[in-house]
Each structure stands twice: as C-alpha cells, then as structure tokens.
Subunit: 251 residues, 2 copies
Amino acid sequence: MIVADGRQAMYRKVAAELRQGIADGAYGSGGRLPAEAALAQTYGVSRGTIRQALALLRADGLVTSRRGTRRVVLGTARVQTFSETVSFTRWARSLGEEPGGRVVDVVRRPADEVEREKLRLAEGEEVCMVLRVRTLSGAPVMVERSVYPRHIGEIVAQLDPAAVSHTVPLEEQGVQFTDVHHTIDVTFADADDADLLGCGIGDALLRERRHSTDPAGTPVEWSEDRYLPGTVAFTVHNSSATTGLSRRTTI
Amino acid sequence: MIVADGRQAMYRKVAAELRQGIADGAYGSGGRLPAEAALAQTYGVSRGTIRQALALLRADGLVTSRRGTRRVVLGTARVQTFSETVSFTRWARSLGEEPGGRVVDVVRRPADEVEREKLRLAEGEEVCMVLRVRTLSGAPVMVERSVYPRHIGEIVAQLDPAAVSHTVPLEEQGVQFTDVHHTIDVTFADADDADLLGCGIGDALLRERRHSTDPAGTPVEWSEDRYLPGTVAFTVHNSSATTGLSRRTTI
DNA sequence: CGCGTCGAGTTGTACAGCCAACCTGGCCAC
DNA sequence: GTGGCCAGGTTGGCTGTACAACTCGACGCG
C-alpha cells in the first residue's frame, strides 16, 4: 500500500514501485506481472490508476501488453528519466561519468531565417548563441551550439562560465523544457569542431539537433550538438502507441 | 459525430480526425484546441475517450497539454504511423520515394553469443541472417543485416528474392513487431558496406540497431542497418511522459 | 498606472462499473 | 494422440462522476 503525500501523483508512485520491482527481478525477465486487479488491490488504488502506471512502463518498453493475457516483462529498468535525456550533465552523472565543459563563445546577434522559424521570432529580433565544448571525465566528446531567444539568453549569459550545467539553473529560473523534438544524423567536422574536439576537419560526427518548447508551446531552445563517434549512442523505444527516448554511453 | 464501426477504437478515430484538423490548419499553429468537454460533445463520446485520443496526439508532439489552460497546437501533423518507422518500404512510399533493394545473402548458422542474448535462444540454436541492400529511387542508401530466429527465418527465406518488403509478408503471416528498441550511432564502412553502397572503406555511416519483439514479448528480429550519410535522419519527439519516433529523409 | 484578488474555465487525478475481445489451459469427443 | 470446444481469467475500451490544481483575464484597490 502506498500513501498519498500529495506531492506526486499516485500512479507515478505506483509506476516507480513497479519499475523497482522489475529492476530487482521480482517478476523475472520474460516473466509475468500480476493482473491489474491484483495490483490494484495490493497498492490500494483503483484499476484505472494501475493502468495509468502501467502505461508509463509500457512507454518505456519495460512491459508488453495485449488483451487476454497478463503483461510480460520485456527487460530491466532503465534508470534514465526524461530530463536526463535533455540535460547532458544529468545524463552523464547518472552513468557515473564526470561531466565538464567550457563556454567557448557567447554571441548576441539578429536571428537568421532558420532561427526565426524555429524560435518563432519576428524579423530583426535578437538571439543569444552559446558555443560550448562538453567533456566526459576530461575528454572532449561534444560541441554544442545552442540558440536561445533573448529573454532566456540573458539568463544564460549571466551564468558562471565555469558552470557545468545550464539546464539546471534555467529550470530554477522557471524555464521548462517539456516538449523536445530531436533530429539525429551524421555530419562532418568543420574547422571549429576539429579544433575543439581534437579531430580532423571533415571527420564524421554524430549530430543531434534539438528543438525545445515550454509547457505553453513557446520555443525556448534550438540547439545543434555534434558528438565524436563512439562516445554516445541514442536509444529509442517504441510500442505500437507510445515510445520513449534515452541516451547511453558506448565508451 | 463519428460512428463506431467496431473495426477501430473510437479514440483512434477521434485522434485521426483531430490530426487531420491540425494538418488542415483548422486551429492554427500555436493556436488552441477546443476544451476536452467541448470535443466530447462534438464527437459524441465521453471525456475519457477524448483524453485517450489527445494522449496519442501528445505522444506525437502535435499538441502540448498542461493543467489550467487549453491545449496548444505545436506543429502540423506528421503523416508517418508507427509501422512506417519500422518498415523501410512503407516509410519510403509515404515520402513519395520508390523503395527497392535486393537480397545479397541468406545464411543459416548457429547463433553467436550476442544473437543468443538478443533473440533469447539456447546454445546451438540456429538463426537466419539476411543481408540486403536497400535503395531509394534506384540509389543505394542502406545495408541491412537482419537476424531472425529459425521459425521466422523460414518464412523470410521463402520470400521472393525480388520482394521489396519483408515486413508486409511477415505481418501477413501473423508476425507482429509491436515493441521495437532502437540504438542509433555512427560506425564505419567495412569492405562489404563499401562495395554495396559504393562508398569507401572506412567511410562513416549512420547506424541503427533494432531489436523487435512480438506482443507476447518474444524477440522476432535483431537487425543492424547502415545508412549513407545525408540520406536519412531519425527524428524523435518526447514530452515529459510520452514520446514518438519517426524517420525522415534528408535528400 | 500597477498590483493583488477573485472567479470562471480547463486539465489532471482518481474512483467505480460495465462489456467486449482475446488468451490459455483443461476437458471431451473422435 | 489430436483436434475442437468451453470456461475462466485478463486486458482493452468506454462511460460517468467528483474533486484538485492550475491558468488567465477581469476587476477593483491603492
């Protein structure tokens, strides 16, 4: 039985418990979960709440579900939450790596055409571009070029240049990244990339372009990250209806 | 008002209608959706059903949602359904490209260690490996190495070597790919890749490794696809809770 | 003019119930 | 043995209700 503390929805707490149970191997891999009705009774909630919790696990690819038979455990829990997939810092820490980096450049300038479309700005409005190198345990792995609309850029520009994370302070200032659209492909290093990552000009890099909006649907960031090959891989899960993204290291 | 025909769940039909409405610009980009209660009335269903429909749209990144205010339209509809993200053939067709390809090699052999783990096989069990080149409008863009457990491999091996799609006939045989886990990174062309794709040995390729299971949680495919840079990009969307994957061309 | 308060509107969470669709295993007839 | 049938168990789909949490504009006060 779980007690409501009002700070987190019941179904999320139930989901967390189930996730833990799966990670502990309480049901075995390929094993079966108890029926929804049974779970409802043991957790002292209604079946609807259990179904909400299970929908979260299903979106993470932890369990299957189909009509007529009990849910099957697909794999062990991935620790990463959504926020870790957006924040390089938290993601790295969750892997036991020590994230680092430095701000190479901060530029304020009028938005170009692509930026105006992505950030939904009018002609002539300014953006703030931050160029950073990011490291894992000291070794450079990624170049990040983030473009922010002005009001957010102000916050970023005033951060300690040595700050490891920009996401955390931004969230503390009330900036939320709730909807993120990623595009992943391959590109090739330009002179700056080569210099910052210590690779050759023209070497292949794994590119992630990221477009984030806040809960109101207002664009808050447009970023292009370039990773050295072999340092990270992106993992995505999708079921027939819902899916989940995470990032993992390949070092 | 939508009529139930019993072949598709109401909430999916409502979702499809809303998707269409968004694509048609009925609500405008950045505009607001009607309230759940209003939608429930216009479609003649309960609010719960509307919420199920909206959950689908949210997972696709089409709308935001937060407490206290109406949903905001984030972007226009992406046509691609989940199945298109798994089937190269359907994906290509949905873009107006003509997919093609040829089977280069079919091998039956004992599963190696990785394959045994991915397909959950016992030592000594055989797998069927299919090596294919896939083309878009005639140009080779991808090398696919798919490994199937025996009983599925039998079906694949008996397909017409000129068959464009393997997924479609497999589904007709009752093989379903409901849960798919993707890993995306960069790798480098070996001699076979270079030969088949017409690139140089050691050239960078975008790699997608794919692990699919059926509704019962049984592994059905373990595949490694290698794309020429610049031909495709993977796009992923995630909201705080749910996410959606699609693939798009960059040609 | 700026500021806080208030209230209507809206989504989130949770409960209870009902039936349909479907899977599984056991039983029975052949 | 083999195949079909049936009953029980289980999830999917849908409805209805209630309240909590939150947003945002209107309004009034200083």
